[in-house]
Symmetry: C2
Subunit: 317 residues, 2 copies
Amino acid sequence: MEKGTILIALGGNAIKQADQHGTTEEQLLNVDITVQQLTGIIEQGYRIVLTHGNGPQAGNLLIQQEEAASIVPPQELYVCGAMTQGQIGWMIQNRLGYYLRKKGISMPVASIITQVVVDAHDPDFANPSKPVGPFYTKEQAGKLKNEKGYLLQEVKPGSPRGWRRLVPSPEPKEIIEQQAIKALADSGTLVIASGGGGIPVRRNGDGSFSGVQAVIDKDKAAFILAQTVQADTLMILTDVEHVFLNYNTDKKKPIHTIRVQDMQRYYDDGQFMNGSMGPKVLACLRFVQWGGSRAIITSLDNALGALEGKTGTTIVP
Amino acid sequence: MEKGTILIALGGNAIKQADQHGTTEEQLLNVDITVQQLTGIIEQGYRIVLTHGNGPQAGNLLIQQEEAASIVPPQELYVCGAMTQGQIGWMIQNRLGYYLRKKGISMPVASIITQVVVDAHDPDFANPSKPVGPFYTKEQAGKLKNEKGYLLQEVKPGSPRGWRRLVPSPEPKEIIEQQAIKALADSGTLVIASGGGGIPVRRNGDGSFSGVQAVIDKDKAAFILAQTVQADTLMILTDVEHVFLNYNTDKKKPIHTIRVQDMQRYYDDGQFMNGSMGPKVLACLRFVQWGGSRAIITSLDNALGALEGKTGTTIVP
């Protein structure tokens, strides 16, 4: 039954849908649908290591930090990342554990709090690219810039609340807990790790690591995690069945199975948008170039079908 | 060098002191002092498994949930517990990892998100005993009772903000992630688990586990964790060097080494207060009665001395 290890990266919509507020109940219902699909994959004999996004949860938590700031000190951005690893990790392990037991599969599920090292000289620190947290009015934005030194950008021009904080999104380099994650996965536990791209830390001169005000792309971090656990397959689940060429044109065409050098050429040609499909494709390219057997981008519903070669976009060596 | 496994339970003051607001920076500085003591213990050849309280952090997080409630849905109490496991677990593993590396000790440190099963028929559900979260005015308390069905109690009579929410504090029965925790600890990782007493869940008829609106005593949960990892020693670190007999009287007398049956008699006589030393002593009694070699209650500064038999209160078979 051993079919190799799949590193699965769950998108934010697997946990909180865009049109939802994000109550605990809503999120658990979404998680329920997600983990039933994962259970189906595990039933087929695949071994899974999981990671997940945290955009909507971190966004809500940042709003809570700010709204209560006059009473309770807001925790730093990277601490909020750690908190969402606990929150989302718990929801997944609670519901996935249930469905595995229901299918008679005796497999522990556990989330490991994960720190991911970034380079303090990453160019994104000089030129932050990732919007996080609430939307502000122009006046609020000006105040935050003066008081906290935030970098803010107008993302919805003309909107009364169109400003957001921009933070760096540096490249992930290494997972500090790699040895623990590997050991736990090797012991037969389904490990959830590096949630939200991991807690970003940088190495100091004394050998310690400090949290940094940044957000790591969860798909790029998924590649680092896939290396750590020596995965055969990297699978990025998102809201579309395929990656498309010529997206947003009338020549739009789904990509099925594609060789890595061809996908790299499309990537270099700017076929995939920076804020959406770009980093997913890049993570897949890195994985196959590193030596992975295949990288898949598809939707949750099509995950098992894509593993069986029936659908999805699969990048091969 | 192998001296057996010690389950160490850190009190809230190891992470946030009562007179502090609880900024990330303050908490990391406290954690720093705490983990340097732990490093000293590990240097002596002891193997450690860690757990910790979360009272102050959960309190702040609950305030943030409420203050932003008109904008962002507050997460349930048990989800806030999961979030503080991520928060505190990260701080400990970040700083402890640093001091271990500095001492040339190659030992991974990792936090596992932990669920603890409670009995849905625990008597504390009918008679909740644990105050959590912010203080309210009488008017706010009345509103929360009507709108959310909270049970509230006046804890500072006559104070303008003297009301608090009471939640059940049921007995911990079992750790769902026990197999993963054991495997990870056995692999040589210093495991942090069951933070804040664990995320309380109850077993449903269909075999699933649901989060419950409750808070588990972290010292009682520490005993369950100590069983899980087959610890030799349970060490509960608090703010006093010794447990005292006749506390708050002029016959106050420290307890040094004591046999479990004698300590049980003092416990039964009501020597130890319910909201403070009582549960700590009870956890120690349970541990030694289960078969543990010794249980120690002392302060952080005296932890190593107590392990060497020089100070602290030690309960033996």
